[in-house]
């Protein structure tokens, strides 16, 4: 099994430690991982802003970079969702179809493909999960509060096995943080207010570390936390699952 690691553009540039944790974690789990250099972006920022047709070049490049792997793994649910959902703008060649079928969000890959819940991590802190919308309602990484299905959550299943961790329950379990890509700029007032409200929920729920499967939401929350000097830390789920504290 050959796995291609997709590190989203902003994670590559701004959060290398999340990429490193993802790679190390997968290697620890015995996966043969390769990072194809020259990768850029899945095109999501363009598509979500209404410029899907301008993103064809980057989507095509994405397929070129990843077509030869059995699986593609990425530490960001929204990028994975974009490839699965919106690569219909490309001609559906065998390569495109394969890439769309074989791409997984990191925790989803560990849970569904490797069939593991305990990754041998330890992390003795009080943790609140931010369930990013594209992972939750797009990839269905868990049940969402709107639907009346039986409860499940891939993130919870993995994190529960982490030694020493205390998972905290929020008041609003899966409300959006307000990042939303270019929404965070063009609807700045609401974006900020939504982020502040999410953070407050974590604070009121006695959380020390907010985690999630999408670094973009976490970047938005982190920006607010730092600006307001709030007693919270933000870590990607890969960093916790790779932790041996």
């Amino acid at each position: 099994m050959k796995v291609g690691l997709f590190i989203p553009c902003y994670v590559n540039q701004l959060y290398p430690k999340v990429g490193i944790a993802t790679l190390e974690l997968l290697e620890k789990l015995g996966v043969d991982v390769d990072y194809p250099t020259g990768q850029t972006c899945c095109g999501q920022p363009l598509g979500n802003s209404g410029y899907e047709s301008d993103s064809k070049g980057s989507c095509q490049l994405f397929v070129e970079n990843f077509k030869n792997y059995d699986y593609i793994v990425c530490p960001s649910g929204s990028c994975v969702y974009h490839v699965k959902k919106h690569f219909d703008i490309l001609e559906q060649t065998e390569d495109v179809v394969n890439v769309r079928n074989n791409i997984y969000e990191l925790s989803q890959f560990i849970f569904q493909v490797l069939g593991k819940t305990n990754v041998g991590a330890s992390f003795p802190y009080k943790v609140g999960i931010h369930k990013s919308c594209h992972g939750l309602r797009g990839l269905r990484l868990g049940s969402c509060s709107e639907r009346m299905d039986a409860h499940y959550s891939i993130e919870e299943s993995l994190l529960k096995e982490v030694k020493g961790i205390q998972l905290k329950t929020l008041n609003r379990v899966d409300e959006c943080c307000g990042f939303g890509g270019t929404f965070s700029i063009f609807e700045e007032a609401i974006s900020v207010k939504m982020g502040k409200d999410r953070i407050q929920d974590h604070l009121s729920s006695d959380v020390e570390v907010i985690t999630g499967t999408d670094q973009s939401c976490l970047m938005h929350l982190d920006g607010l936390i730092n600006r307001n000097n709030q007693p919270l830390k933000v870590m990607h789920i890969a960093e916790i699952l790779n932790s041996t504290l």
Binding site: P16, G43, L46, R147, F186, E187, V192, R227
Partner: protein
């Protein structure tokens, strides 16, 4: 003004935003609890969605069937192509019956057609009898929500409004007192009305009858007291058979307010002897929306308002920020079909979180339609130069590994070395309230290459 600007204004008063958010979240919560009590809720949603899809693909036949059956029952049926035709038809009926005073129960369609100002301009008094509707009517505002029209008003604001218009005494917003006063005021209007206008929640093709859901019984009260009943409906209100009400009534009440059943589900199947009953069937852009395949299912909507209650943006920007008859997520996919330019900011007033689609009792893929409208809007409505050029440029950069590598490196360099005062300055919208990430020495790719060698 764009939605973003309106939202920014609304957010100037954070305490009010919190109050508005919590009031609607309360309704969303109540809905969750009510939905949990129904075994097979998700099956019910699937069924409702399938029934609506069937209706829309056979709409012409169902409408004709409905008309025939309604006429058999002695109801007069009228067809209106657009809002103007609708208003004229209603006005003509009122003229023929020499009507001067009208009571109206809740109807988003008549809001959409701006019926009230039209009739008032022709010297007819129109009184909205739903309490929330009456409140916004007195305040000379449009409804801010389709089920809770005055949800943006605090009880203290209602108190002041009633003092001014109904002559009440100050009560610190005592809801019991205020409701009682409203009831007295409305009772008088009911008794004096010559005609009653209602909306339609469901029009049953099989029987030619209509169903109107209210919590206050104001539709019944109006219809039973007046000699003329005019019911106004959009063409999409049809359901095929009476038994389908069992699906929709269960979903509607729970989705709207978390009630197991709406207090009054009033069935109107024929006029009472000696009285008149009219139904006006209105298109007003609906058949055009029907022709747009990607947006067709927006016509499934049963106007429960759940997508508004769940929407994190609606809750924090208020219904008026949408500047459309139907606000919130569903409004944002319906309105661009009516006037693309005027409503072009609405599909962007979303993070595409998808909560609306999952809450919707008739399973409209609202957030996917928002995405689709965005693609159409950037091609057809002039976009801000900065936004357009940055995103077009990004398309070129992201399709080219080398260019991307170079630009990524230089922007990281700038982020790292520019003073914080510039990075977080006014020109940088991100930095108004948020810090930018701290930049590390290497990007991931550099680290990976070093590690490999």
């Amino acid at each position: 003004m764009s939605h973003a600007k309106e939202a920014e204004l609304f957010n100037k008063d954070e305490a009010k935003v919190n109050w508005h958010d919590q009031a609607l979240w309360f309704v969303r919560n109540k809905r969750d609890k009510a939905a949990h009590t129904v075994k097979g809720w998700e099956d019910l949603r699937n069924l409702a969605s399938a029934i609506k899809a069937n209706v829309l693909s056979n709409l012409d036949d169902y409408l004709v069937q409905f008309e025939e059956n309604a006429q058999k029952n002695g109801i007069q049926v009228h067809w209106a192509g657009d809002a103007e035709a609708h208003n004229k038809i209603v006005h003509d009926i009122l003229l023929q019956n020499n009507v001067k005073k009208v009571v109206k129960s809740k109807s988003m369609l008549t809001e959409e057609c701006h019926l009230n100002p039209y009739l008032e301009a022709h010297g007819i008094e129109v009184i909205d009898t739903d309490l929330g509707e009456r409140i916004v009517q007195l305040a000379k505002e449009p409804p801010s929500h389709i089920v809770l029209p005055a949800i943006h008003k605090t009880k203290e604001e209602v108190d002041a409004l009633f003092q001014k218009h109904l002559g009440t005494v100050p009560s610190h917003g005592d809801p019991r007192y205020l409701t009682n006063e409203a009831r007295k005021h409305l009772r008088d209007k009911f008794l004096k009305a010559d005609a009653a206008i209602t909306g339609v929640n469901f029009a049953v093709a099989e029987t030619g009858g209509i169903v109107v859901c209210t919590n206050e019984g104001n539709a019944d009260m109006g219809v039973h007291l007046a000699k003329v009943h005019i019911a106004c409906m959009g063409i999409e209100k049809i359901i095929p058979e009476e038994k389908h009400l069992g699906v929709f009534l269960r979903l509607l009440a729970r989705s709207a307010t978390g009630q197991p059943i709406t207090t009054y589900s009033s069935h109107f199947n024929k006029p009472v002897q000696g009285k008149e009953m009219h139904i006006v069937i209105v298109d007003n852009g609906r058949s055009e929306q029907l022709s747009r395949e990607a947006f067709r299912s927006s016509l499934h909507c049963i106007r429960c308002g759940a997508c508004m209650n769940t929407c994190p943006i609606y809750r924090r920007s208020g219904g008026h920020s949408y500047k459309a008859t139907i606000p919130g997520p569903i409004g944002s996919i319906l309105s661009p079909g009516m006037d693309l330019k005027k409503h072009s900011s609405l599909p962007f007033a979303s993070t595409l979180c998808g909560s609306c689609s999952d809450v919707c009792p008739v399973k409209i893929n609202i957030h996917e339609q928002l995405y689709q409208w965005r693609q159409i809007i950037t091609k057809n409505v002039k976009q801000p130069v900065v936004k357009r050029s940055i995103l077009k440029m990004a398309g070129i950069v992201l399709a080219n590994s080398k260019l991307y590598g170079f630009l990524g490196r230089s922007s990281r360099f700038m982020l790292k070395h520019l003073p914080k005062s510039i990075v977080n300055s006014k020109i940088n919208t991100w930095g108004k309230a948020r810090d930018l990430p701290k930049v590390e020495n290497d990007n991931f790719e550099d680290w990976y290459k070093k590690r490999k060698s």
